[in-house]
Amino acid sequence: MALDDPHTRPPEPPGAEGPRNGSAAGDVPPFAGDEVLPCGRLLSRVWEQAWDAPPAADLHPVSCLHCREAVEGLATVNAAARALRDEDPPGLHALADRVMDVVRAEARFGRLLPLADPDWDLRIAESAAAKVLRQAADTVPGSRAATCRLIPEGNGTDVRVTMTLAAALDRPLPERVHQVRRSVLHSAGQDLGLTVTAVDITVADVLEPGPTPGPRLPTGGGA
């Protein structure tokens, strides 16, 4: 049934579509190649609703034979799509290993920082020091470090740390930031042998409780 045929939409009693269905052919612009079903709904919207879940108040797609037939017409495609989605790709670990081999070969060390032993002129890469200091921040419950930059100060071995933090809001932030600063200072001196003159901390994000959300996957296929 062609969309550009003005006679294709059958007459329908007012209100037959139910409240705010938003998908009757007259209410929404069609897509190129769209089709009006005998019930007056656009095929494109019927397919969308089957996937997206229709508004709870719209019972038409459930009761309408034409809509159900339209949705069932995609059953084979949807079943094959589910099969593609569920396939377990081989070589996941090997792929990750290959990627990380290249990444480690292209390591970004950052600047070299002086350790607190000027006699030997020992230095540490900023990225290595930052990793240790982030770990120190992470050991404080309810805090996770984000950025961590280390900047030499003056001509000696002094270093200033600038860190941004994601913190939970279950305790006062000043107390938590104070703990993180102490932990970072302790680790810088004890683990690395850096002379840190200051740790500037900015809480830049809120740490939300609960598991990290994974990629969203569709829960239905509309058929």
């Binding site: 190649g33 969308e48 792929l95 990444v103 050991t139 404080v140 994000d205």
Partner: protein, 191 residues
């Protein structure tokens, strides 16, 4: 006294945005977590785009390495996942355009029983239907193919698909509709 907890192993509990910030400063371990977290969905995407697992692995590997190199310039305007989808889609499209045209459909052999992508429990008919869909996908217009895969296989919302494909939501929905029509027609013999 400093209250401490054990450091979370490899940052596996961290949200992407924190891992990305750390990785951008050269923290390889954070990047490794991102790779592990997103490999599966990106491989599935690339496999659907390219039709075979070998090319898919190459595309995803290239995408991750490209991401590592460009992380310092990443401005967080999009979620890391969206950014990775975009890089992978671009890489797949480049690979599709470079490789020789596919064999005619009647010369494409059915996969062998030991095909790496097959699951033991899957029936030959399921494999045949999936292969038919892969071939039908290969016939689609680039834009329609990407939108359909991101929606129907990856389950992305319209807004995120629009970000990945640099279009608007209406364009995405229109492409999706035309892709569904074409695939329905192509899969007709399997109904």
């Amino acid at each position: 006294m400093i209250e401490r907890t054990a450091s979370p192993r490899l940052g596996c509990d961290l949200p992407d945005r924190l891992l990305v910030v750390r990785a951008a400063e050269g923290d390889e371990d954070s990047f490794a977590v991102l790779v592990q977290r997103h490999s599966r969905s990106l491989l599935t995407l690339a496999r659907c785009m390219l039709g075979n697992p070998q090319d898919a692995e190459e595309a995803v590997q290239d995408a991750f390495i490209s991401a590592w190199r460009h992380l310092p310039e990443y401005r967080h305007r999009a979620e890391f996942r969206t950014w990775m989808y975009r890089i992978t889609v671009n890489r797949c499209q480049t690979m599709r355009h470079r490789r020789p045209p596919p064999l005619p459909l009647d010369t494409v052999a059915e996969p062998a029983a030991g095909d790496a992508w097959s699951q033991p429990a899957r029936t030959a008919e399921q494999d045949a239907v999936t292969n038919a869909l892969s071939r039908a996908l290969a016939e689609l217009d680039d834009g329609q193919r990407v939108c359909w895969i991101l929606r129907e296989v990856q389950g992305l919302p319209y807004k995120e698909i629009a970000h990945v494909t640099r279009t608007g939501e209406q364009t995405v929905r229109g492409r999706l509709f035309r892709a569904r029509r074409s695939l329905q027609e192509a899969m007709g013999p399997w109904r």
